[in-house]
Symmetry: C2
Subunit: 367 residues, 2 copies
């Protein structure tokens, strides 16, 4: 179980169409594949999605910090010494997705070594999760059509609507159109990616008060400290912190400060080891959690699914696990399949995925 | 890995001499051995120590709730479905040591099935912990002699001094005698088991201000709500909550309320699964933790050691793991050995202990 090598392989897979957010725009999945090798010949894999607008990491930076710093630090450790691995990675500040991909690749290798799914090693709560789909900015009719397509094609009935445009009435109209079209047959929640001010958020929430939203996420920046608390204090649905809670300490700060009343867990930024810390912390603090998506590919989505199914609290809400559908291709031998709105986790060892060597050869950008 | 049977076996092993606490007196270790059997023929073991004065459980009550309620609920589950097991046990209120013994026996069976130590499954941080020894009520000279004996015989240099007598000067004199005898060569902390009022505690702390204490634990009851917060607010060393934080939610309440600034983790009451929740929560809240002892026998001590060595925060402070020395015998084939003040965890599968069938036959009280 000794770790002998840590590989970082940049790859690029085009999206079917560019993705738009309040915080920026993405044209291709330019991720980094991480492979952890052991002296038994086992290889654990995971992917790191660079999100400069969210975590400050770039694809080249992730490769660099893994090759130049982290790879050496893991030498001589075994797959069992995960708390030691975490300690060593923590010497370097930041770099959350690089660290998380290493952590998840270690868990994948451990599961393969033990012939057990990672979910079972983590907690083993269930084998499936409902999937929620994110609806990006567009006009109401187009977004309703997109939701309808997702329901017909994949059975998805939970939608996370991106908001944060100005005027807010653009977004309110979309949410209202969705509710009018679907009635009570779908669950809706909104994510502002910090696009509005606290006052804009409060006005928009008032206009959507009759629309039965599940959650509201990051409507305004957590750094607008008092405005955010004022907003959360008057919001009568759970207010999800996402970008503002990348670490357990941030969860503690934001929840205790009244800056959020629920959290988003992303394995892309906290891996499995730290995601479990975040989960146990949030559960102990008594707040809800949603499994989020860092615009993950299928590898990252399989990771979120493997973690989410391990615990009750992470599997009871639909997880944001449909972004991979926007990619024109991926690296897996067997693509993930959303059926009846559900993703079934693999019962195979580790994260339960196999890479297609031809596809990796085709999409890798380092040779 | 399917669970086929859960056994509860009451046993009684005399103490060398009766143990005295502010909350009561104990003459023999009347514990319950829990064995979890699987269809692979693997047997996981742990022990539940009934503490009616602390958790309300009795030896007969533990046997009854396991035989009549919990055993059936585990039928059909595998060792991998630990979060499902926890959910089912949680349907029954209370019974923390019965639930914890089952949880730890499941982990022991899982480790044995996978041929891996439980510590490595949990986190794998280190292989050893320093041991602290509890000094029970007596006169200063006798308690100094006991500490001296523990240092000479076992190399122990951290002592937890029981306090809470009236007048408090009885206890202050003991701590002062220990510090004068040992100088800075030992670490000292105190545990009141809620024996004093907040005001008595504050006066005693003032009288011990020059004695360089590490921690103060449960000096007055947490249910003396405002008095306790007043005391903790003026105490300049970490104030450990123990009896007042048996669950993660209690940790959140007491820490956030300012009723404690550190916590004691006892695997006897939170097993491994919930102890990890407590650890991750406390770490996320940013408070120190100490591995405590529920007057465990060697089985329970091996459990505390297996958990404590899994993480940095639980292994950096000395753990309270010497109480088993007060027992006249135990059930293990190879007794635990404290050397140079250290307990080394087993590198064998599961918790890493083997029961002596003759000893079990001799000490069990159900036939």
């Amino acid at each position: 179980m000794k770790i002998t090598r840590v590989e970082s392989i940049p790859f690029s897979i085009p999206y079917r169409k560019p993705l738009h957010f309040a915080s920026g725009e993405v044209h291709a999945a330019e991720h980094v594949l991480v492979r952890v090798h052991t002296d038994d010949g086992v290889v654990g894999v995971a992917e790191a999605p660079p999100r400069p607008y969210t975590y400050g990491e770039t694809q080249r930076g992730i490769v660099a910090v893994i090759d130049d710093v982290f790879a050496d630090q893991l030498q001589g450790l075994t797959l069992l010494e995960r708390e030691q691995i975490g300690d060593r990675l923590a010497r370097t500040i930041g770099n959350p997705t690089a660290k998380s991909a290493i952590d998840m690749a270690v868990w994948d290798a451990l599961g393969k070594t033990l012939d057990l799914p990672v979910t079972d090693l983590l907690g083993g709560y269930t084998d499936r999760m409902r999937v929620s789909h994110m609806l990006g900015f567009d006009d109401p009719a187009t977004m309703v059509a997109e939701a309808e397509r997702m329901r017909e094609q994949y059975g998805i009935t939970t939608f996370k609507v991106k908001v944060g445009r100005r005027p807010a009435s653009l977004d309110v109209a979309v949410v209202r159109a969705l509710r009018e079209h679907f009635g009570e047959t779908v669950d809706l929640y909104i994510d502002g990616n910090r696009g509005w001010t606290a006052a804009e958020s409060a006005r928009a929430m008032a206009q959507m008060a009759d629309l039965g939203l599940l959650f509201a996420e990051e409507l305004c920046p957590a750094d607008d400290v008092l405005g955010r608390r004022w907003l959360v204090g008057q919001t009568n649905i759970p207010f999800i912190a996402d970008e503002s809670v990348p670490t357990p300490a941030d969860v503690t700060r934001e929840i205790l400060a009244g800056s959020a009343t629920a959290i988003n867990i992303k394995t892309a930024r906290t891996g499995f080891t730290q995601s479990r810390r975040v989960h146990h912390l949030a559960e102990g603090l008594g707040v809800e959690m949603v499994m989020g998506n860092q615009i993950d590919g299928q590898i990252g989505t399989a990771c979120a699914l493997a973690f989410g199914t391990a615990f009750r609290a992470t599997s009871q809400n639909a997880g944001e696990m449909s972004n991979f559908l926007d990619m024109s291709d991926d690296l897996l031998v067997e693509p993930l399949q959303i059926r009846d709105g559900i993703l079934q986790r693999s019962s195979r060892p580790g994260i339960g995925i196999d890479l297609d060597p031809d596809k990796l050869e085709h999409y890798r950008t380092d040779n």
